[in-house]
Protein backbone atom coordinates (compact mmCIF):
# COMPACT_ATOMS: atom_id res chain seq x y z
CA UNK A 1 0.00 0.00 0.00
CA UNK A 2 2.92 2.30 -0.72
CA UNK A 3 0.88 4.44 -3.10
CA UNK A 4 -1.30 5.64 -0.20
CA UNK A 5 1.65 7.64 1.05
CA UNK A 6 2.80 8.89 -2.34
CA UNK A 7 2.95 12.70 -2.53
CA UNK A 8 2.30 12.81 -6.26
CA UNK A 9 -0.76 10.53 -6.17
CA UNK A 10 -2.13 12.68 -3.37
CA UNK A 11 -1.44 15.82 -5.40
CA UNK A 12 -3.11 14.48 -8.56
CA UNK A 13 -6.25 13.32 -6.72
CA UNK A 14 -6.42 16.57 -4.77
CA UNK A 15 -6.12 18.73 -7.89
CA UNK A 16 -8.58 16.59 -9.84
CA UNK A 17 -11.30 16.73 -7.19
CA UNK A 18 -10.65 20.42 -6.55
CA UNK A 19 -10.90 21.25 -10.26
CA UNK A 20 -14.14 19.25 -10.69
CA UNK A 21 -15.75 21.03 -7.76
CA UNK A 22 -14.62 24.50 -8.85
CA UNK A 23 -15.83 23.77 -12.40
CA UNK A 24 -19.17 22.63 -11.00
CA UNK A 25 -19.55 25.53 -8.54
CA UNK A 26 -18.69 28.59 -10.65
CA UNK A 27 -21.78 28.52 -12.95
CA UNK A 28 -24.01 27.92 -9.92
CA UNK A 29 -22.42 30.86 -8.08
CA UNK A 30 -23.21 33.03 -11.10
CA UNK A 31 -26.75 31.65 -11.52
CA UNK A 32 -28.17 30.48 -8.21
CA UNK A 33 -31.69 30.48 -9.66
CA UNK A 34 -30.66 27.70 -12.06
CA UNK A 35 -29.49 25.58 -9.15
CA UNK A 36 -32.69 26.36 -7.25
CA UNK A 37 -34.58 25.02 -10.25
CA UNK A 38 -32.52 21.79 -10.21
CA UNK A 39 -33.05 21.33 -6.46
CA UNK A 40 -36.78 21.92 -6.92
CA UNK A 41 -36.86 19.08 -9.48
CA UNK A 42 -36.01 16.57 -6.75
CA UNK A 43 -39.41 17.44 -5.25
CA UNK A 44 -38.21 16.82 -1.73
CA UNK A 45 -37.63 20.24 -0.23
CA UNK A 46 -39.70 23.27 0.78
CA UNK A 47 -39.09 26.73 -0.67
CA UNK A 48 -36.88 27.93 2.19
CA UNK A 49 -34.50 24.94 1.95
CA UNK A 50 -34.32 25.29 -1.85
CA UNK A 51 -33.39 28.99 -1.52
CA UNK A 52 -30.83 28.46 1.23
CA UNK A 53 -29.20 25.53 -0.58
CA UNK A 54 -29.04 27.35 -3.92
CA UNK A 55 -27.47 30.40 -2.27
CA UNK A 56 -24.94 28.66 -0.02
CA UNK A 57 -24.00 25.24 -1.48
CA UNK A 58 -22.19 26.65 -4.58
CA UNK A 59 -20.03 28.82 -2.31
CA UNK A 60 -19.23 25.89 0.01
CA UNK A 61 -18.19 23.74 -2.95
CA UNK A 62 -16.26 26.59 -4.56
CA UNK A 63 -14.31 27.35 -1.37
CA UNK A 64 -13.64 23.65 -0.74
CA UNK A 65 -12.52 23.10 -4.32
CA UNK A 66 -10.19 26.10 -4.20
CA UNK A 67 -8.77 24.90 -0.88
CA UNK A 68 -7.97 21.52 -2.41
CA UNK A 69 -6.32 23.12 -5.43
CA UNK A 70 -4.25 25.51 -3.30
CA UNK A 71 -3.47 22.86 -0.70
CA UNK A 72 -4.79 24.75 2.32
CA UNK A 73 -7.13 23.26 4.94
CA UNK A 74 -7.13 20.09 2.87
CA UNK A 75 -8.74 17.87 5.48
CA UNK A 76 -11.60 20.28 6.18
CA UNK A 77 -12.22 20.76 2.44
CA UNK A 78 -12.12 16.99 1.85
CA UNK A 79 -14.56 16.41 4.69
CA UNK A 80 -17.03 18.98 3.34
CA UNK A 81 -16.75 17.53 -0.17
CA UNK A 82 -17.22 13.99 1.16
CA UNK A 83 -20.35 14.98 3.08
CA UNK A 84 -21.81 16.80 0.07
CA UNK A 85 -21.10 13.76 -2.14
CA UNK A 86 -22.83 11.44 0.35
CA UNK A 87 -25.85 13.78 0.35
CA UNK A 88 -25.93 13.86 -3.43
CA UNK A 89 -25.62 10.06 -3.71
CA UNK A 90 -28.57 9.69 -1.31
CA UNK A 91 -30.64 12.21 -3.30
CA UNK A 92 -29.89 10.46 -6.59
CA UNK A 93 -30.78 7.03 -5.15
CA UNK A 94 -34.05 8.39 -3.68
CA UNK A 95 -34.91 9.97 -7.05
CA UNK A 96 -34.24 6.69 -8.85
CA UNK A 97 -36.38 4.75 -6.38
CA UNK A 98 -39.17 7.28 -6.94
CA UNK A 99 -38.75 6.83 -10.70
CA UNK A 100 -37.93 10.49 -11.38
CA UNK A 101 -36.17 11.20 -14.67
CA UNK A 102 -34.34 14.40 -13.75
CA UNK A 103 -31.03 16.09 -14.39
CA UNK A 104 -28.84 15.98 -11.29
CA UNK A 105 -28.01 19.69 -11.62
CA UNK A 106 -24.33 19.01 -10.96
CA UNK A 107 -22.90 20.75 -14.01
CA UNK A 108 -24.34 23.58 -16.06
CA UNK A 109 -24.42 22.79 -19.80
CA UNK A 110 -23.83 19.05 -19.32
CA UNK A 111 -26.83 16.71 -19.22
CA UNK A 112 -26.15 14.37 -16.32
CA UNK A 113 -29.18 12.43 -15.17
CA UNK A 114 -29.57 11.37 -11.55
CA UNK A 115 -29.01 7.68 -12.33
CA UNK A 116 -26.62 4.82 -11.50
CA UNK A 117 -23.88 6.26 -13.72
CA UNK A 118 -23.95 9.54 -11.76
CA UNK A 119 -24.02 7.60 -8.48
CA UNK A 120 -21.00 5.50 -9.55
CA UNK A 121 -19.05 8.59 -10.62
CA UNK A 122 -19.86 10.32 -7.35
CA UNK A 123 -18.86 7.21 -5.43
CA UNK A 124 -15.44 7.34 -7.14
CA UNK A 125 -15.13 11.03 -6.25
CA UNK A 126 -16.12 10.15 -2.68
CA UNK A 127 -13.33 7.56 -2.52
CA UNK A 128 -10.91 10.22 -3.79
CA UNK A 129 -12.00 12.82 -1.25
CA UNK A 130 -11.85 10.26 1.57
CA UNK A 131 -8.33 9.39 0.40
CA UNK A 132 -7.26 13.05 0.61
CA UNK A 133 -8.93 13.25 4.01
CA UNK A 134 -7.43 10.17 5.64
CA UNK A 135 -4.07 10.16 3.85
CA UNK A 136 -3.50 13.90 3.85
CA UNK A 137 0.16 14.66 3.22
CA UNK A 138 0.06 18.05 1.55
CA UNK A 139 3.75 18.54 0.94
CA UNK A 140 3.35 19.84 -2.60
CA UNK A 141 1.08 22.84 -2.98
CA UNK A 142 1.01 26.32 -4.42
CA UNK A 143 0.84 27.90 -0.96
CA UNK A 144 3.80 25.89 0.32
CA UNK A 145 5.75 26.72 -2.81
CA UNK A 146 5.11 30.45 -2.35
CA UNK A 147 6.03 30.22 1.33
CA UNK A 148 9.20 28.42 0.44
CA UNK A 149 10.15 30.90 -2.28
CA UNK A 150 9.15 34.07 -0.46
CA UNK A 151 9.87 33.26 3.16
CA UNK A 152 12.40 30.44 2.72
CA UNK A 153 10.10 28.44 4.97
CA UNK A 154 11.46 24.92 5.29
CA UNK A 155 9.50 23.43 8.13
CA UNK A 156 6.04 23.70 6.49
CA UNK A 157 4.66 25.19 9.69
CA UNK A 158 1.48 27.20 9.34
CA UNK A 159 0.55 25.88 5.95
CA UNK A 160 -0.73 22.54 7.06
CA UNK A 161 -4.37 21.64 6.97
Amino acid sequence: MKFLNNDYIHLIIRLLIGAIFVYSAVPHVLNAMGLASSIYNYRLFPSSIIGMSAAVIPWITLLSGLALILGVKVRAASLIISISLVIFICLAVISMIRGLDIDCGCFVGIIRKANWIAVSEDFLLLLGSLFTFFFDRTRISLVLLIKKLVFHNKNYKGALS
Partner: protein, 186 residues
Protein backbone atom coordinates in the same frame (compact mmCIF):
# COMPACT_ATOMS: atom_id res chain seq x y z
CA UNK B 1 -15.72 16.92 23.52
CA UNK B 2 -13.50 16.28 20.56
CA UNK B 3 -9.99 15.03 21.27
CA UNK B 4 -7.32 17.64 20.59
CA UNK B 5 -3.70 16.95 19.76
CA UNK B 6 -1.01 19.22 18.45
CA UNK B 7 -0.03 19.00 14.80
CA UNK B 8 3.03 16.85 14.51
CA UNK B 9 5.24 19.02 12.26
CA UNK B 10 8.27 16.87 12.92
CA UNK B 11 6.51 13.87 11.38
CA UNK B 12 5.60 15.86 8.30
CA UNK B 13 9.14 17.11 7.82
CA UNK B 14 10.37 13.55 8.16
CA UNK B 15 7.94 12.43 5.47
CA UNK B 16 5.41 10.75 7.74
CA UNK B 17 1.73 11.59 7.99
CA UNK B 18 0.86 14.19 10.63
CA UNK B 19 -1.07 13.17 13.73
CA UNK B 20 -4.83 13.10 13.19
CA UNK B 21 -7.06 15.45 15.17
CA UNK B 22 -10.77 16.18 14.64
CA UNK B 23 -11.14 19.50 16.44
CA UNK B 24 -9.17 21.76 14.05
CA UNK B 25 -10.80 20.04 11.09
CA UNK B 26 -14.32 20.70 12.38
CA UNK B 27 -13.29 24.27 13.20
CA UNK B 28 -12.03 24.82 9.65
CA UNK B 29 -15.22 23.30 8.24
CA UNK B 30 -17.26 25.78 10.26
CA UNK B 31 -15.12 28.64 8.90
CA UNK B 32 -15.79 27.44 5.34
CA UNK B 33 -19.53 27.18 6.01
CA UNK B 34 -19.69 30.59 7.73
CA UNK B 35 -17.87 32.25 4.83
CA UNK B 36 -20.14 30.50 2.32
CA UNK B 37 -23.27 31.62 4.20
CA UNK B 38 -21.96 35.18 4.28
CA UNK B 39 -21.05 35.33 0.58
CA UNK B 40 -24.06 33.34 -0.61
CA UNK B 41 -26.45 35.32 1.58
CA UNK B 42 -25.14 38.70 0.48
CA UNK B 43 -25.04 37.90 -3.23
CA UNK B 44 -28.38 36.07 -3.35
CA UNK B 45 -30.44 38.31 -1.11
CA UNK B 46 -33.41 38.50 -3.51
CA UNK B 47 -33.43 34.72 -4.02
CA UNK B 48 -33.51 34.17 -0.26
CA UNK B 49 -36.25 36.77 0.15
CA UNK B 50 -38.36 34.95 -2.45
CA UNK B 51 -37.60 31.62 -0.79
CA UNK B 52 -38.79 32.74 2.61
CA UNK B 53 -41.82 34.65 1.30
CA UNK B 54 -43.01 31.58 -0.62
CA UNK B 55 -42.72 33.09 -4.11
CA UNK B 56 -39.65 31.12 -5.18
CA UNK B 57 -41.38 27.92 -6.33
CA UNK B 58 -43.95 29.72 -8.56
CA UNK B 59 -41.05 31.67 -10.11
CA UNK B 60 -39.09 28.47 -10.74
CA UNK B 61 -42.14 26.82 -12.33
CA UNK B 62 -42.68 29.88 -14.51
CA UNK B 63 -39.03 29.87 -15.66
CA UNK B 64 -39.12 26.14 -16.37
CA UNK B 65 -42.24 26.51 -18.53
CA UNK B 66 -40.60 29.33 -20.51
CA UNK B 67 -37.42 27.27 -21.05
CA UNK B 68 -39.37 24.16 -22.01
CA UNK B 69 -41.53 26.12 -24.48
CA UNK B 70 -38.40 27.48 -26.15
CA UNK B 71 -36.88 23.96 -26.30
CA UNK B 72 -40.10 22.52 -27.75
CA UNK B 73 -40.00 25.00 -30.59
CA UNK B 74 -36.26 25.16 -31.29
CA UNK B 75 -34.97 21.66 -30.52
CA UNK B 76 -37.97 19.39 -31.03
CA UNK B 77 -40.10 21.32 -33.53
CA UNK B 78 -43.31 20.44 -31.66
CA UNK B 79 -46.26 22.67 -30.77
CA UNK B 80 -47.02 23.63 -27.20
CA UNK B 81 -50.63 23.94 -26.08
CA UNK B 82 -51.73 26.56 -23.57
CA UNK B 83 -52.84 25.18 -20.23
CA UNK B 84 -56.38 26.65 -20.51
CA UNK B 85 -56.82 25.29 -24.04
CA UNK B 86 -55.76 21.82 -22.92
CA UNK B 87 -58.32 21.91 -20.11
CA UNK B 88 -61.01 23.03 -22.55
CA UNK B 89 -60.22 20.14 -24.92
CA UNK B 90 -60.22 17.79 -21.92
CA UNK B 91 -63.66 19.00 -20.79
CA UNK B 92 -65.05 18.69 -24.32
CA UNK B 93 -63.46 15.21 -24.62
CA UNK B 94 -61.89 16.29 -27.89
CA UNK B 95 -58.32 15.22 -27.12
CA UNK B 96 -56.41 12.12 -26.08
CA UNK B 97 -53.95 12.76 -23.26
CA UNK B 98 -50.72 10.78 -23.45
CA UNK B 99 -48.55 10.29 -20.36
CA UNK B 100 -44.91 9.95 -21.47
CA UNK B 101 -43.53 8.93 -18.06
CA UNK B 102 -42.69 5.38 -17.06
CA UNK B 103 -45.35 2.93 -15.86
CA UNK B 104 -44.36 3.40 -12.21
CA UNK B 105 -44.90 7.17 -12.33
CA UNK B 106 -48.09 6.74 -14.38
CA UNK B 107 -49.56 4.38 -11.81
CA UNK B 108 -48.65 6.74 -8.98
CA UNK B 109 -50.88 9.38 -10.54
CA UNK B 110 -51.93 10.58 -14.00
CA UNK B 111 -54.41 12.89 -15.72
CA UNK B 112 -57.75 11.15 -15.59
CA UNK B 113 -58.26 9.07 -18.73
CA UNK B 114 -54.69 9.50 -20.04
CA UNK B 115 -52.95 6.68 -21.93
CA UNK B 116 -49.46 5.65 -20.86
CA UNK B 117 -46.89 5.70 -23.69
CA UNK B 118 -43.54 5.57 -21.87
CA UNK B 119 -40.88 7.54 -23.71
CA UNK B 120 -38.19 4.83 -23.54
CA UNK B 121 -40.37 1.95 -24.77
CA UNK B 122 -41.84 4.19 -27.48
CA UNK B 123 -38.46 5.28 -28.81
CA UNK B 124 -37.12 1.70 -28.66
CA UNK B 125 -40.04 0.62 -30.88
CA UNK B 126 -41.51 -1.64 -28.19
CA UNK B 127 -44.83 0.20 -28.40
CA UNK B 128 -46.76 0.41 -31.66
CA UNK B 129 -48.71 3.70 -31.53
CA UNK B 130 -50.90 2.50 -34.41
CA UNK B 131 -52.51 -0.09 -32.12
CA UNK B 132 -53.20 2.35 -29.26
CA UNK B 133 -54.06 5.39 -31.40
CA UNK B 134 -55.52 4.17 -34.70
CA UNK B 135 -56.94 7.57 -35.75
CA UNK B 136 -54.07 9.72 -37.00
CA UNK B 137 -56.25 12.85 -37.14
CA UNK B 138 -57.23 12.88 -33.48
CA UNK B 139 -55.90 15.61 -31.21
CA UNK B 140 -53.10 14.22 -29.05
CA UNK B 141 -51.70 16.03 -26.00
CA UNK B 142 -48.52 14.62 -24.50
CA UNK B 143 -47.30 15.46 -21.04
CA UNK B 144 -44.80 14.25 -18.45
CA UNK B 145 -43.88 15.46 -15.00
CA UNK B 146 -43.60 19.19 -15.74
CA UNK B 147 -40.55 21.17 -14.60
CA UNK B 148 -37.59 20.32 -16.83
CA UNK B 149 -39.04 16.99 -18.01
CA UNK B 150 -38.54 16.51 -21.76
CA UNK B 151 -40.13 13.07 -22.18
CA UNK B 152 -43.36 14.58 -23.51
CA UNK B 153 -41.39 16.52 -26.14
CA UNK B 154 -39.69 13.30 -27.23
CA UNK B 155 -42.96 11.41 -27.57
CA UNK B 156 -44.69 14.32 -29.35
CA UNK B 157 -41.85 14.50 -31.86
CA UNK B 158 -41.98 10.72 -32.39
CA UNK B 159 -45.76 10.77 -32.94
CA UNK B 160 -45.48 13.66 -35.44
CA UNK B 161 -42.83 11.70 -37.35
CA UNK B 162 -45.20 8.70 -37.47
CA UNK B 163 -47.86 10.72 -39.26
CA UNK B 164 -50.05 12.05 -36.45
CA UNK B 165 -51.16 15.51 -37.49
CA UNK B 166 -52.47 17.21 -34.33
CA UNK B 167 -49.88 16.59 -31.65
CA UNK B 168 -49.40 19.10 -28.83
CA UNK B 169 -47.34 19.23 -25.65
CA UNK B 170 -48.61 20.29 -22.25
CA UNK B 171 -45.39 21.66 -20.74
CA UNK B 172 -46.95 22.29 -17.30
CA UNK B 173 -47.19 18.50 -17.04
CA UNK B 174 -48.82 16.34 -14.42
CA UNK B 175 -47.58 18.52 -11.56
CA UNK B 176 -49.21 21.61 -13.05
CA UNK B 177 -52.44 19.75 -13.78
CA UNK B 178 -52.66 18.30 -10.29
CA UNK B 179 -51.73 21.63 -8.66
CA UNK B 180 -54.61 23.29 -10.57
CA UNK B 181 -56.99 20.78 -9.00
CA UNK B 182 -57.99 19.18 -12.32
CA UNK B 183 -59.10 15.53 -12.51
CA UNK B 184 -56.43 12.92 -11.86
CA UNK B 185 -56.45 9.15 -11.33
CA UNK B 186 -54.33 7.66 -8.56
Amino acid sequence: MLPQTKVDYASVSAGRRPTFSWRPIIKDCLYFIALAILLGGLLNYSLLRNAFSGTLIPRIQQNQVVILKAKAKQLYGVTVIEFASAKQLYDEKNAVFIDARNAQEYEAGHISGAINVPDREFLMGEIDPGKILPNKDSVLITYCDGGECELALDVAKGLSERGYTDVFVLVEGYQGWEAAGYPVDK
